[in-house]
Amino acid sequence: MKLASVIVLASLAAGAAEAQELNLYTSREPGLVEPLLAAFTDSTGIKVNTVFLKDGLAERVASEGESSPADLLMAVDAGNLADLVDKGLTQPVESEVLAAAVPENLRDPGNQWFALSMRARVVYAASDLDLDAITYEDLANPEWKGRICIRSGQHPYNTALFSAFMAHHDAAATEEWLTGLKTNLARQAGGGDRDGAKDILGGICDIAIANSYYVGLMRSGKGGEDQKAWGEAIKVILPTFENGGTHVNISGAAVAKHAPNRDQAVQLLEFLVSDEAQKIYAEANYEYPVKAGAAIDPIIASFGDLKVDPLPLTDIVKNRQQASELVDRVGFDN
């Protein structure tokens, strides 16, 4: 039996020895990455083998050590990318193409990882609500008591936002703000970002904190008629910090420390910041491109001009453990 399973599974996993290929470990969902990889293979002839991993990406690469076939590690959330660097799983890439395309606050200072696309943490508001602008600080004001929907406070999208708050203020002010925000929740923190829009239409809350690209996915009708209705029940406000801009998070990638196909990995990285790929990020996923001047999808552009918070992401994600502990302290998810 064991022998049979070796043969069958080995044959299923075959195909790791051809010349022009590279191995991608991604915690970005396959549906989002595939159009980009298809375009890359079309233009270079390099085949990309992928494995989609969620939370164990770093652990898997670490356990595989120097035997790891991983060339490029792709992840969402700057904190996850910083983790890869902290664990010593990446190597620096000196590339003029990357340095020119990716702004300095959106990449690792040692060039260990690079942002490839960007999303803003925005406010969805019921479309008939009298509200045009808001700051993140305002969200803790008593006027919003019982009116806000948000996903789990421990989700990386939220811990990153809370870390950014901490980078602008301090731990004590962040705890106070989180307590206020918790009081303002209309329901227990949970669900996904799109549930925010759905729950606004469902009458559960008036505003929700969520990511920008979901609006594109909903309004475009890609998710069917129901979601179109959720997307149209809301308007999007780009909040800012009182002394800063809108909080953004990124998807990005790093070349693995033991990458057997390093050159191909760098080639893919450079392709991903090309105009062609940046356009796919904007069109297929409704993300903000990282490259200045690249086109933005009209649905996303309709939110107004995005003023990206200037603090470097590496400064923000330093606070992520402390932010997560604060979420527990105020019982945000309870």
Binding site: L9, E29, A62, S63, D328
Partner: protein, 530 residues
Amino acid sequence: MIAGLVLVPVLALGWQAAQGSDGLWSHLARHVLPHALAQTALLMAGVGVLTAGIGTGVAWLVTAYDFPGRRMLEWALLLPLAVPTYIVAYAYLDMLHPLGPFQSAIRAVLGYDSPRDFRLPDIRSMTGAILLLGLVLYPYVYLPVRAMFLTQAANLVEVAHTLGTTRRQIFHRVALPLARPAIAVGVSLALMETLNDIGASEFLGVRSLTISVYTTWVTRSDLAGASQIALAMLVLVVALISIERWARRKQRYSVSAQRARPMARQPLAGPARWGALCLCLLPVVLGFVLPAAYLAVEAWERFRFAGLSPRLWAEAQNTFVLSALATAAVLACGLVVALAARLFPQRGMGAIHRVASLGYAMPGTILALGILIAAGGLDRWIGRTARAAFDIDPGLVLIGSGLALGYAYLARFLAISIGGVEAGLTRIPRSYDQAARTLGHGIGSTLRHVHLPLSRAALAAGGLLVFVDCMKELSATLLLRPLNFETLATHLYGEAARGTYEEAAIAALAIVAVGILPVILLARVGRAPA
């Protein structure tokens, strides 16, 4: 040896845990544990009571009485097994949402236009979680308890009947005590599933201990701390199982030396027939029909909207082949352990056997991490050795071939297969073994001629449970599978993770469809005991 295999990931976790994690416990004790422990205890108590009640109740109804639809219900009651808990949770969240069909219908009846004027309380609550998990997990109790009633109860029930006891009294005085080991096995499986569940708890907003493990690992990148909590949970589970075993240490359950046969069913008349039918239909409808119908509708809409993904067929094949291979291996190992426990009932065997069951008691992700650490270490060693000795690079022998994944299934589901095999073996009186050995049959021959034929039904039942579980398994599959290898569950997760559940409806339906096959087989096997 096999028990050792299960111990490896636990030891790997122990090693991780020993790496230390500063100030974690004081933080947890102050801010997390009080809430998480209370929620976990409440959830487990609720699910335990509900699964034991539903599982035993319907098992007794379909074995002791005859009523319209009984034959169909016998297998239909198993159907909720085919649906992963996270899928049921998602389906119900959507159906019962203020915008969903249920509340929309109520608003239409009551004459409200907008959900802002009228809506029901949110199902994202502890009560919602208990009800959902109870309705999906009760077959874990129903299955062994029904098998027990079918093969054991007849003689005792008939004796009790001759003594003038009513059916109801028989249930309380004979059947229930008789079914206790089966109920215990079933409930402990259901509870471990509950404890390990992440998807449904997350959807329903229950902050269980498992979620704390997860948060500590993922959000705070503190694997050592997560391992510490996971190991503490493991101690708790082992303690619970030991208490249960200790409580029935003096009882013996192997009964008749005669051929087992089902008891004569008492036909029901009048309203009682319909009452029995409705009682048995309720869990089937709520635990399977409604969520499956919802999925079918969603999948159909999706199919019309976007067509069928060509990858789906390949993924279904991967899922099927992988689960089948793993099931065969898990069942074989379960047989070895259970048989060894029977043949050499010294003290040591019991402990080894309990160790072998540990894998099921850990959250799947945590077990998978333990295996990843161990398998990765071995792979690196093989790689270094091969490069030094033969100057070739074999790549990742274990992880790359999927062996590590097979190993994860083994470690995880060994408990189910041991439980299944044991349930079959305990019914065979030891006098049979002794007779066979006196007649000059060796261990192997006794196994072939006595144990296997007599426990065929239980073995098949155990095997099918393992198969369905392998197929639904997500966390280990996600972490340990080779490059370019997707199963239905990983595909589904990939879509669900980016919030495009609608894309996932077809994959979810496929999981349910593939899962129904063994469930139906399971019922057929149970109906005609060897």
